[in-house]
């Protein structure tokens, strides 16, 4: 289709993305094909509907939240760079990266950034705190219908209790990181992207 030509990926773009996200050339081209196949409107950006069209996401309890995570604050379209930036969080942390001199800015797939991504799934209003309500929302999404609101509320309360160190009944990002320090985030939040 003729319209595709204008949206083909240019070499410079690939280089930029490579530097920013750390994906390899072939991974980027492959993900670009995926991007274009999702982009039914063929305008070089994805909207929420494009994501919602993936049927498996409809049966994922956190599907819509994750879709949300792709879109920067207040926007409703995401371009390929944004797409890759979000996916970059899930790149596995390679050993050789740890040995190299740390780059100027922290790579997108560092442990902190991964946790930040996870944190933002809860924290919709971006106030850097997970309130009880936000936690309740996520819990409700992940749990069946057999738990009553009260029970869920008490679970949420206990959860906050475990994490909250400064007593403000919210979980800040620092507290979040602290309580998950024993969890192998690198492994649990990485997928291997095909070449």
């Amino acid at each position: 289709m003729g319209s595709r030509a204008s949206t083909l990926l240019r070499e410079e773009e690939i280089e930029e993305i490579k530097k920013e996200t750390g994906f390899s050339h072939s991974q980027i081209t492959r993900l670009y094909s995926r991007f274009t196949s999702l982009d039914k409107g063929e305008n070089g950006t994805l909207s929420r509907e494009d994501f919602q069209r993936i049927p498996e996401l409809a049966i994922n309890p956190l599907g819509d939240r994750i879709i949300n995570a792709f879109f920067p604050e207040g926007e409703d379209q995401v371009n390929f760079k944004g797409f890759m930036r979000t996916l970059a969080h899930f790149r596995p942390i390679e050993d050789n990266e740890k040995n190299k001199n740390p780059p100027a800015t922290e790579p997108l797939n560092s442990r902190t950034n991964k946790l930040l991504f996870a944190f933002r799934l809860y924290d919709l209003d971006r106030d850097d705190k997970i309130s009880r309500d936000e936690l309740l929302q996520v819990l409700r999404m992940m749990v069946g219908v057999n738990i009553s609101d009260d029970q869920l509320g008490s679970i949420a309360d206990r959860t906050i209790q475990e994490a909250d160190t400064n007593g403000d009944t919210c979980i800040s990002f620092q507290e979040f990181m602290k309580v998950l320090e024993k969890v192998d985030v690198e492994q649990k939040m990485s997928i291997r992207f095909l070449h």
Partner: protein, 826 residues
């Protein structure tokens, strides 16, 4: 009590059988025995006999029927008490019953009159089992993992055969086995017949153990496909043994390799041809619906025999026959026929399996075949286990480097441990030529012992092993609530990102295949009425959902809280492919069926944990602790499983629906509801009411069209909801028209021309994959009221005629939506 007299009945029958057999020639010998004719050529009668004893007249069929009855009675006795089958798999118990029966016959006859002969096994007992597995195979899962399955089947089996043969030979040279006359070639032959993992045994044991779908399909698929390799290896080495060691040169070896390809691909191709034949046939059987179900059995059997005749792999042939014809059969045949086929297959397969295991047990009690060589037997057992594990570990290491979802260590152990040998190995062993292979009896014995070991011992210990491994991994660390929740969050996240990033390679080929299939094969193999029906059903479905949605909006409108500009029309984008995509997702999860009652690993959805009963006696601190335990317990029980954990089971004996489907339905409904809400709130500028009593689930996903997609929809008759949950990118310029013709009901031709010819015809396979009454796409409330769960009945449904003018009211419009974005939009 009832059990006791059942067992007594069994014994009586048995005594009758053996006493009858006692006085007559054994079944296994040819039927044209000298005594058959006695009925006719007895000494001249002197007076008219009123009743005569005509045993020989009916001997063979009688004994066959009697043995079938006895085997099935054994199964009855075993299944009388579910507690036992929880610990010991049914196959093991059947073998034990076989021992008992064999012992009784031996006691009566001093010779084993009934054995599992290779002919009976390969021609009369095995085909229906394999046909059942092929027909119920979850195609999508199978073909997605085909690469891994093939690697395990081909390379794994060759590895098993080679290493077993060579190691045994090495030990022989080392003198560990004493004085037996087996050469290297014969060892390799023996290795090849022991190498194959047996599908019958695998299913029988895996029924007890809940493993996830990927693992299941890997082991199961491997067990089916390795027949190609086994047949080739066996024939090749058999021929080599006949030729003698000297005649083997490079040419013969090359021929061996070529024969592998010919046998394997030839068998599969033959099966596919037969499958297509059946599909074509089912297209024309409208007038003979009463015997429609029979064709698959006959043609399947012919596929098997034809492959045997051409010395190709018969198991592969019948598997692919079943795999290919599933979809078309389920679309073309009448509903009753589909049910009949399903049930009949299960009956035959289950029945055959029972008979096989009983006879495996009986065949052991035969002094003539027993040769005991400690070294040989023990070494064989040892090597089989070891090499299986080594093979699995090496192969999965290779595979994991290119798999998106690596196969975990626990899963690898289960795969290795699940490499059971069964009746196929025994059948091949008995087929060995005694003159060329002097130690045939030793081999037969060892095969039997290996089969017993794997089926009984490994079967019994499989479940505890799995539980121990899982428990072990989970219990190493006591997780906090946050960690638990977060782990689940991670799992769901990963699954979602995998789906979003997709696997391009698969999708590309899958799309190509789908297009090809829609264009050519569906046209050829599906009844025209079947093709139309799919769309009609889908349309009706969609319309019902649509109506619900529109009524919901209308209500809101009447309440006056909605402000929108009246416009002429609304488009609803009915993406045909959408349903197909859903079908793909759903059957993954809910593909098949098993009922789970006896399983200890099943978590009950009990919202009131027993812990709370003790809360009264505790003081405040204790109360808090109890709450803590409560929370952990609740979370453990109720957190949705991520897709990785969803259980898939192919069950020989159950046709029910997987419990996990409820979870999926819940999630799906909730997601759809929230999307609809946010859509409404975005469009109407109103926050959706907190309590939604009506479950409006919109099945098709509304799409936001922009200019470029307009030519995609044809004319007036299109219907489109545009989702306006985003303030920007909203094209208000395009007209929205209601093309919904009042009272058009299901015959709405609106949707007909709209169908691209490549529209997927996926409801039946969707149903077929999902099995029975399950309706994977959540129907709207109205649909639920009208359709008692069975999608096919929608075909005769008429939607209520709407007066024309109210149709105009049901417009969905394009207001400039208020910039406020609902926070509920998840």
């Amino acid at each position: 009590m009832a059990e006791r007299w059942r067992s007594a009945l069994l014994l009586c029958l048995l005594m009758a059988a053996s006493s009858l057999a006692n006085s007559e020639t054994p079944v296994s010998s040819s039927t044209g025995n000298e005594t058959t004719g006695t009925g006719h050529e007895t000494a001249a009668i002197t007076t008219l006999p009123i009743v005569t004893w005509k045993w020989h007249h009916v001997e063979v069929p009688y004994l066959v029927a009697l043995w079938v009855l006895v085997s099935w009675l054994c199964k009855l006795v075993i299944e009388a008490n579910h507690n036992v089958t929880n610990y010991i798999p049914e196959s093991a118990l059947l073998i034990c019953f076989g021992f008992i029966l064999g012992g009784m016959i031996w006691g009566a006859d001093k010779v084993q009159t009934f054995k599992l002969t290779p002919t009976t096994f390969f021609f009369y007992l095995l085909p229906q089992i394999i046909l059942d597995t092929g027909y119920s195979m979850p195609n999508k899962l199978f073909f997605t993992n085909l690469g891994a399955i093939l690697i395990h089947a081909i390379i794994g089996t060759c590895w098993n055969a080679a290493t077993l043969g060579l190691s045994l030979w090495g030990c022989h040279q080392g003198g560990a086995m004493g004085n037996i006359e087996i050469g290297l070639l014969q060892y390799l032959l023996y290795g090849s017949l022991m190498a194959a993992v047996d599908p019958v045994a695998v299913i029988a044991v895996f029924e007890q153990v809940h493993v996830n779908e990927v693992l299941f399909i890997l082991v199961f698929g491997e067990s089916l496909l390795n027949d190609g390799v086994t047949v080739v290896l066996f024939n090749v080495f058999d021929a080599f043994v006949s030729l003698g060691g000297g005649a083997i040169d490079a040419k013969e070896i090359v021929k061996g390799i070529v024969s592998f390809f010919v046998v394997a691909f030839g068998g599969s191709l033959l099966g596919t041809v037969f499958g297509l034949l059946i599909s074509l046939l089912s297209r024309c059987t409208k007038n003979i619906q009463i015997i429609e179900p029979g064709f698959i059995f006959v043609l399947g059997y012919l596929a098997y025999l034809t492959a045997e005749m051409l010395s190709l792999s018969s198991i592969l042939s019948i598997v692919f026959c079943g795999v290919c014809c599933q979809k078309y059969m389920n679309s073309n045949m009448d509903e009753n026929s589909i049910q009949t086929v399903r049930y009949a297959m299960k009956v035959f397969a289950n029945g055959s399996e029972t008979i096989i295991f009983v006879f495996l047990g009986i065949s052991a009690i035969d002094k003539t075949i027993w040769v005991w060589n400690t070294g040989f037997i023990l070494l064989t057992l040892f090597f089989i286990l070891i090499y299986r594990f080594i093979g699995v570990f090496i192969l999965t290491w290779f595979l994991n480097r290119s798999r998106l979802v690596p196969i975990s260590f626990v899963e690898q152990i289960i795969m290795g441990y699940g490499g059971l040998r069964g009746a196929v190995a025994y059948g091949l062993a008995v087929n060995l030529n005694e003159t060329k292979i002097k130690e045939k009896n030793l081999m037969v014995c060892t095969t039997l012992i290996v089969v017993y070991f794997t089926v009984i011992l490994q079967g019994v210990t499989m479940k505890p092993l799995v539980q121990w491994l899982n428990v072990k991994r989970a219990a190493t660390v006591d997780l906090t609530l946050v960690e638990k929740v977060q782990n689940k969050v991670f799992e769901h996240m990963l699954v979602a990102i995998e789906d979003i990033s997709g696997q391009i390679g698969d999708n590309y080929w899958r799309n190509k295949w789908r297009n090809f299939e829609e264009k050519w094969m569906s046209r050829l193999l599906l009844k025209p009425s079947a093709r139309k029906k799919q769309d009609r059903l889908f349309n009706v479905f969609h319309q019902l959902n649509l109506q619900d949605a529109m009524e919901y909006v209308k209500e809101g409108e009447h309440r006056g809280s909605l402000e929108f500009i009246r416009n002429e029309s609304a488009f609803v984008d009915f993406k045909k492919k959408f349903g197909e995509d859903y079908e793909e997702a759903m059957p993954d999860i809910m593909a098949v069926m098993a009922d789970d009652q006896g399983s200890a690993m099943r978590l009950r959805r009990d919202p009131v944990p027993s812990v709370s009963l003790e809360m009264h006696e505790q003081n405040m601190r204790g109360l808090r602790e109890a709450e803590g335990i409560n929370s952990h317990y609740l979370l453990d029980q109720h957190l949705y499983k991520s897709r990785k954990q969803h259980r898939y089971r192919f069950s020989r004996s159950h046709l029910d629906i997987n419990q996990d489907e409820n979870e999926v339905q819940e999630i799906f409904q909730r997601t759809m509801r929230s999307r609809l809400e946010s859509f409404k709130s975005g469009k109407m500028g109103v926050a959706p009411p907190k309590t939604i009593t009506k479950h409006t689930k919109r099945e098709p996903q509304p799409k936001m069209p922009n200019g470029r997609n307009k030519p995609y929809h044809s004319g007036d008759e299109d219907f489109e909801f545009s989702e306006g949950d985003s303030a920007s990118g909203y094209d208000t310029s395009f007209p929205m028209r209601v093309g919904y013709r009042a009272g058009a009901g299901i015959e709405n031709p609106a949707f007909m021309p709209d169908l691209d010819p490549s529209s997927p015809l996926h409801i039946p396979p969707w149903l077929a994959d999902a099995g029975l009454e399950v309706n994977p796409v959540a129907p709207s409330e109205r649909a639920q009221v009208r359709t008692p769960g069975h999608l096919h009945r929608l075909a005769s449904l008429r939607t209520s005629a709407q007066p024309g003018d109210t149709v105009r009211d049901r417009n969905l419009l394009t207001p400039p939506p208020p910039p406020h974005r609902d926070d509920d939009h998840l």
